[in-house]
Amino acid sequence: MPKSSTPSRLAVRKTYKLYVGGKFPRSESGRTYLVDGDNVALASRKDARDAVVAARAAQPKWAGATAYNRGQVLYRIAEMIEARRAEFKALGVSGAEVDATVDRWVWYAGWSDKIAQVAGNANPVAGPFFNISAPEPTGVVGVVAPPSLLGLVSVIAPAVVTGNTVVVVASNPQAAITLAEVLATSDVPGGVVNILTGSGAEIAPWLASHDDVNALDLSGIEDAGLATDLERAAAGTLKRVLRPVSGVDYTEDPGTGAMTALLEIKTVWHPKGF
């Protein structure tokens, strides 16, 4: 947290609030918690539900945008992060991690109009039919993010690039909300990414059991018992659950798994004949 070093002028401090539906509300609970001397909004169950409503509302339009357009929007985010390099570094993120974070957005931006070409295909069915399988986003994804900035973008980008919208519980609140400011000043429609600061253990169960959440990414849950409980809760609506083996190295090539786990494959048949 940058404090003013000029004695003659008092710095204006930032208030760290939630990011829901493209806006920065305080927690409806009125709660905050102290992080590095800052009061940060402590999200509640109600905030999580509001965020799901915002994510659901934004999802059809976001998924309906062309892949090219989503790619442009993601690339724009990379440009905006690059521009806030100093701010992230002041929050203790290393220069190398900012580099990797920008490059990660660029990597996923490029996937927007390619994932269907890698994860979909024409099927040579034994009959006079045109038959093609293509991926579609699964819908609203609840995400418990890992603590690093690189980890945070490595769980958000693969979900949203294909047209999902997300409700993210972030455990590095200042970096996460600074990222939210990046998103708010890019071209990402409000509600596509919603960021709640607070406790994964407190919020995640509400996301896991929420009927209007389609998938759950548990990358940030360290406690194996809790993760299993969440998987069990997610089974109620048969949510897709992404639970990486612990100790993911976010600096490595992320592969396509984080994207494909949050995709549905739709196959279309059509007869051929005169």
Partner: protein
């Protein structure tokens, strides 16, 4: 038809130097000889460009060879970011480049602004994203670049064809020497400036302007590993012969004589729009133009009446006017060819029709034209005219339509108009062409592979498949 007031796009956004050199190893340099490039709408000289001699091509290939080592060794993610930069700069300069393209080529600003330039930027954007994902593209776990690519492009979509060539080549780690067409060298030279703005390392992209000899010398250069050519089938054949036995990789995107098939259940108004777009888009200077209309006999009369009505509303004239539909023919030579083949059409017995259409006094112009009563033996049904000239044939059954559509040495594209999905797909299966448009025509997208069957060439540009032409 009511009158439109003139709506000229300002050309002041383009600032042309009195002369342009060759772009080799990151620098613009002089050449011994030069030639002039003109605005085909006015025959006004726009500027002078260098005529590359063999030793200039040698220098360009040597620069590309030197650059290849470090360019191909760079991580894909770094190459990607150069290409993203190029895409962004093109987006920012797109109006300037669109006006430039219309000046040098003669195409309507509406097309250069709304079709060419957006596709150019999108193409770089698309292939930028592949640069760090090549192992996912389905060409093996560690696909490698080929080396130096010698690329020769045509005059009909100068900057777009450049994008189709350079974007996949660079994304895959190759370096390039590109020769733009003799009559449209300018947008490639402006692209060289875009490369400089993007801080692209010297030698990765080299632009040599010149005529046919320059292109021939480039594709026959022993230190070129890959040849990519878009142009006429005749030149394509010569290149294939010269490349034979050298081990060079070759991709060719050549001529076409596309059938646009209209069935009796097609929505007529939409089909007419598609026919007009198919043959009059870009003055018919389109290798995949729908130059043979195959219409089912039972609706031929109604459709042709509607087509004639629609053609009478096309506006021909100043390419920089935002309301212009049909611009100038790109060159005197091309105009002569169109005139000649059209005369042959009449001589061979087809019936010629054009709407009343005033042609400007200066420049190269040809009114939109259709020929009816065309048979498969007519030269205007067999040869690529590459102008705003449509040959109309009829058919009775789907089998006859397919037979006629395939009765050509070409196989680049085809169109099908019908309300019955199963019929569209069944006909598409039987057409020997690389791109089939159904109830639309002349659609292009960087994600969608483009290229021909038979004598329309080989290899694909665009899409995942477009990577293959540049990978070992």
């Amino acid at each position: 038809m009511f009158e439109y007031a003139p709506a000229p796009e300002s050309r002041s956004i383009v600032s042309l130097a009195p002369s342009y050199g060759l772009f080799i190893d990151g620098e613009f340099g002089e050449a011994k000889d030069t030639f002039k490039t003109i605005n085909p709408a006015t025959e006004e000289v726009l500027t002078e460009v260098a005529l590359a001699a063999p030793e200039d091509v040698d220098r360009a290939v040597a620069a590309a060879r030197r650059a290849f080592q470090s360019w191909s060794a760079r991580p894909g993610s770094e190459r990607a970011k150069y290409l993203f930069r190029i895409a962004r700069i093109i987006q920012e300069r797109s109006r300037e480049l669109a006006v430039l393209e219309s000046l040098d080529n003669g195409k309507p600003i509406k097309e250069s602004r709304d079709v060419d330039l957006p596709l150019v930027a999108a193409h770089f954007f698309y292939y930028a994203g592949w640069a760090d994902k090549l192992k996912y593209a389905g060409f093996g776990p560690d696909p490698r670049p080929l080396g130096v690519a010698g690329q020769v492009i045509p005059w009909n979509f100068p900057l777009l064809m450049l994008a189709w060539k350079i974007a996949p080549a660079l994304a895959t780690g190759n370096t390039v020497v590109l020769k733009p067409a003799e009559t449209t060298p300018l947008s490639a030279l402006f692209f060289a400036d875009v490369c400089r703005q993007a801080d692209l390392p010297p030698g990765v992209v080299n632009i040599v302007t010149g005529a046919g000899d320059t292109g021939r010398y480039l594709v026959e250069h022993p230190d070129v590993n890959k040849v990519a050519f878009t142009g006429s089938t005749e030149v394509g054949r010569q290149i294939a012969r010269s490349v034979a036995g050298t081990g060079k990789r070759l991709s060719l995107e050549l001529g076409g004589k596309a059938a646009n098939i209209v069935f009796d259940d097609a929505p007529i108004d939409q089909a007419v729009e598609g026919i007009v777009n198919g043959i009059f888009f870009n003055q018919g200077h389109v290798c995949c133009a729908g130059s043979r209309l195959l219409v089912q006999e039972s609706i031929a009369e109604e459709l042709l009446a509607s087509l004639r009505r629609r053609m009478a509303t096309l506006r021909l004239g100043d390419p920089l006017d935002k309301n212009t539909d049909i611009g100038a023919i790109n060159s005197r030579a091309q105009l002569d060819k169109i005139v000649e083949l059209s005369e042959i059409g009449s001589t061979e017995g087809a019936e010629r029709w054009s709407p009343p259409c005033e042609l400007p006094d200066r420049g190269f112009w040809f009114a939109p034209t259709i020929f009816t009563g065309v048979t498969q033996a007519h030269r205007i049904a067999r040869e690529e005219i590459f102008g705003p000239v449509l040959s109309v044939l009829t058919f009775r059954t789907p089998a006859e339509a397919i037979e006629k559509a395939n009765n050509t040495p070409y196989g680049l594209s085809a169109g099908i108009w019908s309300d019955k999905g199963s019929q569209i797909l069944a006909v598409a299966d039987k057409l020997r062409a690389g791109v089939i448009w159904a109830n639309t025509f002349n659609k292009f997208d960087p994600t969608s592979p483009f290229g021909g069957y038979k004598e329309s060439g080989y290899g694909r540009e665009g899409g995942r498949h477009g990577l293959e032409a540049y990978l070992a």
